[in-house]
């Protein structure tokens, strides 16, 4: 059994706008083309920027993944060179003393 709300809703959703012919103003096409030409004239930097914009978004996921990878690596390995030097000094003092000679 259809309620009043159902009936009205169904009638409204079946309603169609009366089809009347629509003709745009004769000037409309010229106005659109004027804007397009204006955009075309100032296009070169914009096109370059939009290309760059597209490129940035394309490489963004890879860069994000790389950042996470580096962050994880630095958390696991330890990013500070001072701690590496201290470790070397405590656990392999001979290697610590010979390393500068090899580097030089």
């Amino acid at each position: 059994m259809k309620t009043t709300v159902d009936k009205i809703e169904s009638a409204l959703l079946s309603a169609r706008q009366p089809t009347r012919e629509f003709t745009p103003d004769p000037q409309w096409q010229n106005d659109v083309m004027r804007d397009i030409r204006r955009l075309g004239a100032e296009e070169s930097p914009a096109a370059w920027l939009s290309l760059l914009d597209g490129l940035v978004w394309r490489v963004a996921p890879a860069l994000g993944a790389l950042c996470i990878l580096f962050f994880t690596y630095s958390m696991v390995v330890g990013g500070s060179p001072q701690s590496d030097v201290a470790q070397l000094l405590f656990f392999a003092p001979t290697e610590f003393l010979t390393t500068p000679a090899f580097i030089l």
Partner: protein
């Protein structure tokens, strides 16, 4: 210059426009303007159709470099037209430029007649009446822009969720949720109207 490009297809025109032959865009404009107007008139008032169609073509020109030919050009243009209509309603919502008109005596009579319609013929006559479209416009004006677009595309025009999603640039799940919510919102508006009528 134009005479050398007389017998070329859309794909070639698009390539040439991309390569700087801006004037050739007029061909696409002439060829597809009726297509764009038919979409735009389905969503926005006639008084604003030119403005939204204008915006559609300017956007199409700006995004021409992203057109990948995976779908026909008219489908791609339809998506831009629908999104321009959605943006139009968002702007209207912010600026409140189009006042929400009150329902007239004729509209109230239409609601009464529709509620009382028992036969299929009587119901069809109500659907065909111009008041139906006017009341729908009034109700749509009370909805959020997204709800409005999805209600028209899915529930009035009978498009599938997938089609509506492609046109609006939403996910299918979002369209389904929004279509359900928009219908609830429309029913709320009708119920409130009926309640007000009974109270008077």
């Amino acid at each position: 210059m134009q005479t050398t490009f007389q017998n070329i297809d859309d794909a070639a025109v698009i390539d040439l426009v991309r390569n700087g032959e801006i004037d050739l865009f007029e061909r696409l404009l002439v060829k597809y303007q009726s297509h764009v107007f038919s979409i735009v008139l389905n969503h926005v008032p006639r008084a604003h159709a030119e403005e939204v169609a204008h915006e559609t073509f300017v956007r199409a020109y700006k995004s021409l470099s992203t057109y990948s030919r995976k779908s026909p050009f008219d489908h791609w243009l339809a998506r831009i037209a629908v999104r321009s209509c959605c943006d139009f309603w968002r702007r209207q919502k912010r600026a409140r430029e189009i006042p929400i008109s009150a329902l007239s005596e004729n509209h109230m009579e239409w609601i009464d007649r529709t509620s009382a319609a028992e036969s299929r013929e009587a119901f069809d006559a109500q659907v065909a009446a111009c008041e139906a479209a006017e009341i729908l416009d009034w109700a749509l004006a009370l909805l959020e822009p997204g709800d409005r677009m999805v209600l028209v595309l899915v529930h009035r025009d009978g498009r599938s969720a997938r089609e509506a999603a492609a046109l609006l640039g939403w996910s299918v799940a979002k369209v389904k949720i929004q279509a359900y919510r928009s219908r609830l919102a429309l029913r709320r508006i009708i119920r409130r109207r009926l309640k007000n009528e009974n109270d008077c």
